[in-house]
């Protein structure tokens, strides 16, 4: 755990208390059972926004607290632990696009509503099943945006889409010319292909040529933070399970073969936490963001992948049942692993950034 200041500790403790008491995994089960495509609890999200979590990276003049990405990551990590279904991550990423690239007028119009929870925004970049921001066909003419975005996270609840077109990022409100096709993925959360057919679009004209990369790096570090919470929870649950499960007249935790696997996972988790926190801190410092975010998401992918698999294996047969939570983490893990950069894509990017 990074060394935190007092505000950050309070924020984390508040998030931890709320998720444990008000949003345990049973709440996610309720969302799943409801079958609603937007797949989150509006009342819970309103509460989260009231606690200020939707505005953590939004400037104070626009209704946020401007605590920064490390702080946002602390909240997201806690939400990840209990698989809290909410558009908070995507809303934060979309808001960051407006903070970085919006005009004064765009900021004044959207940021206060995104901070208060009155409106929800998301990011729509990829046009295929694999993350590839170099392959964008969506285009804009005369302020009308057309194209299809694939597997947009939290699309169903979104009032506003931050859309990547060939020549930059645009704001598109839900409504005329915006059509959703639900794509139900293994994590049972909100995903949809979104077709824009001459939808009214406003360009985010500031932020320079790197705006899309900068926004995607913010998506990468926050997604990695969610995965960090998930990996930590799988580790803790698995360790608890090994300490109580008895076979051969002894608790499994006393078996050296399992102890060493847990020691390996503990070391992996330490690496993941260091990389993710450094990624969040780099965004706040505004220095070395591309590299740090690439490392953060690659390490999150690697460790979460192993952690989910080992979590199931170490739980044994009971880990395969829907009654146990560990399977939910596996199913969410893979969706996040493939979002905003698979490991092979990220390693290619890292090589380029490093000049080889």
């Amino acid at each position: 755990m990074a060394v935190l200041n007092e505000e950050q500790e309070m924020l984390r403790d508040m998030a931890r208390e709320w998720t444990v008491n008000e949003s345990p995994v049973t709440e996610f089960r309720k969302v799943r059972a409801s079958g609603e495509p937007e797949a989150f609890n509006r009342d819970a999200y309103a509460t989260m926004a009231q606690m200020g979590w939707a505005g953590v990276i939004i400037p104070e003049e626009h209704g946020g607290s401007d605590f920064g990405f490390l702080s946002a990551g602390l909240v997201v990590e806690e939400l990840g632990k209990t698989l809290t279904a909410s558009p908070l991550v995507m809303n934060t990423v979309a808001a960051s696009a407006i903070v970085l690239g919006g005009s004064d007028e765009q900021k004044a119009r959207w940021l206060p509503r995104l901070a208060s929870g009155e409106a929800i925004a998301t990011l729509a970049v990829d046009e295929g099943p694999s993350h590839d921001p170099a392959k964008i066909e969506t285009s804009v003419s005369d302020g009308k945006l057309s194209g299809t975005k694939a597997f947009v996270h939290e699309a169903h609840g979104a009032d506003l889409f931050v859309v990547a077109a060939k020549d930059g990022l645009y704001l598109v409100e839900k409504g005329d010319g915006v059509a959703l096709t639900t794509r139900k993925l293994t994590d049972q959360r909100s995903h949809a292909d979104v077709t824009f057919d001459g939808a009214a679009a406003e360009k985010l004209a500031n932020g320079g040529d790197s705006l899309l990369d900068d926004v995607l790096d913010r998506a990468r570090v926050l997604t990695a933070a969610e995965m960090l919470g998930m990996a930590q929870q799988v580790f803790d649950d698995t360790l608890d399970y090994l300490k109580q499960r008895v076979q051969f007249n002894q608790v499994l935790a006393s078996l050296q073969a399992l102890q060493h696997r847990m020691a390996d996972l503990f070391a992996d988790l330490a690496q993941m936490r260091s990389a993710v926190e450094a990624g969040l801190q780099a965004v706040d410092a505004g220095f070395g963001v591309a590299r740090a975010a690439t490392i953060a998401k690659t390490e999150a992918n690697r460790v979460m992948h192993t952690m989910a698999n080992e979590g199931i294996q170490l739980h044994g047969g009971i880990g395969m049942t829907d009654e146990y939570d560990v399977g939910f983490y596996l199913k969410r893990a893979r969706v996040l692993e493939q979002s905003f950069g698979s490991s092979s894509w990220l390693k290619d990017r890292f090589s380029k950034l490093s000049g080889y």
């Binding site: 360790l239 050296q256 102890q259 020691a263 260091s274 000049g355 080889y356």
Partner: protein, 403 residues
């Protein structure tokens, strides 16, 4: 954040920085610029040039080689902030710290904690002046990972002990003046029968034989003790307290083996940059072998997160005023990654990366081969990876003792 105290502190630091700069200008021989400390590790005999001697004596006299150790025992008596300034200014001037070795890294801190006043007065000052080299008498042929199984016996003879037995993997034993050893003083209790004592290597009955390793010559030795007389005042702590003291010392050793700082310097050059000199590249300067390129990126990313972890452990320890629980994983991770790097370096260089000797290989290539082989020891010594896993499972994760 302008407070009244900050400008004063800043001025103090500036003044100290100026003092260090002046000291370097007065004392650091230009011919030593860029050299490293031959005495620091365990890997060479003590043949100092006059310039090296002059530099060691100058730094030793100030206690700046051990800047945070107490002044009364020859240390610098400085704050961590001041020690950092010394580090920075020495690095800027291309000057090495001439005070090092096991005395500084492991034995000194342990003796400062457990030694009595007379012992500290006798043994610490020569370490701070770089005059005495210490070696470690821990492992035995039948006490490696199961270190507490050691059998070297120190028999109580009234005013002295009579020591008999064999130690192995005594790093730098052939060049050492003194040995800090754990020996058995009681055969009836595995752990409480162990004591920590100091043995002069030039005493009759001490015999040292260097061991040839898979990497060729090495600093490792076998050390035999036959009826060696060790005075009672050389016992550190109480009789039977040796296991506790010995383990404390190992914590210092592990920090040094994994040590983010020194490893970072060692592994500074990007494997990608090295690969571009040995492997074909494409139009944009990218490595043409996409699989190798992926492997290198995969390694470098994990290496980066290890360095971040080492830094985080340090920051957490500082903030909490104690050892961070993730310190326990640093040795295991750092040694594994550096082995992996050596293997990847061979894949990058092909057979050119496996040279044993001859003009067809650069010094760097030959050193890398020896380092690759010697590096296999790092996951074995200082508590093997398997022992580290036991420690993590038991102490950190609270998993039960296995039998």
């Amino acid at each position: 954040m302008a407070t009244q105290i900050e400008p004063a502190t800043q001025t103090d630091e500036d003044a100290f920085r100026a003092e260090v700069q002046q000291f370097l200008a007065d004392n650091f021989p230009a011919e030593l610029k860029g050299q490293s400390n031959a005495l620091a590790g365990v890997d060479g005999p003590t043949n100092e040039t006059p310039a090296q001697t002059k530099w060691r004596e100058a730094v030793g006299a100030r206690g700046w080689g051990t800047p945070t150790w107490p002044k009364e025992y020859g240390g610098g008596g400085l704050t961590k902030a001041q020690a950092k300034i010394i580090d920075q200014e020495f690095a800027k001037a291309g000057a090495y710290n001439p005070i090092g070795g096991m005395g500084v890294m492991m034995f000194g801190p342990t003796l400062l904690e457990y030694g009595n006043e007379a012992q500290k007065k006798e043994h610490i000052p020569p370490i701070t002046r770089g005059e005495i080299r210490w070696c470690q008498g821990y492992s035995e042929p039948n006490a490696g990972s199961d270190l507490a199984n050691l059998q070297t016996f120190a028999e109580d003879k009234g005013d002295h002990y009579l020591v008999n037995g064999q130690k192995t993997w005594t790093s730098g034993g052939q060049w050492a003046d003194k040995c800090f050893a754990i020996v058995r003083t009681d055969k009836s209790d595995k752990h409480k029968g162990i004591s920590f004592m100091l043995i002069d290597m030039d005493k009759p009955g001490v015999e040292v034989r260097p061991i040839t390793m898979i990497s060729g010559t090495s600093p490792f030795c076998e050390t035999f003790f036959t009826d060696v007389k060790v005075p009672k005042e050389n016992l550190v702590g109480e009789e039977g307290q040796g296991w506790t003291i010995g383990k404390r010392l190992l914590q210092h050793e592990r920090t040094n083996i994994s040590g983010g700082g020194s490893l970072a310097r060692l592994m500074g050059q990007s494997l990608g940059d090295i690969a571009k000199k040995y492997q074909p590249t494409g139009a944009d300067g990218e490595l043409a072998d996409a699989v190798l390129r992926d492997k290198i990126a995969d390694f470098e990313i994990r290496w980066n997160s290890f360095l971040l972890t080492a830094r985080r452990a340090m920051e957490e320890s500082k903030a909490a005023g104690g050892v961070s629980e993730i310190s326990s994983v640093l040795k295991k991770l750092g040694t594994k990654l550096s082995q992996e790097r050596s293997e990847l370096l061979i894949e990058i260089r092909g057979l050119q990366g496996l040279g044993w000797e001859g003009d067809g290989f650069s010094d760097g290539e030959l050193e890398a081969v020896r380092a690759w082989l010697f590096g296999k020891a790092t996951t074995i010594y200082g508590g093997s990876t398997e022992i580290q896993n036991n420690i993590i499972a038991k102490r950190v994760l609270g998993m039960l003792d296995h039998q």
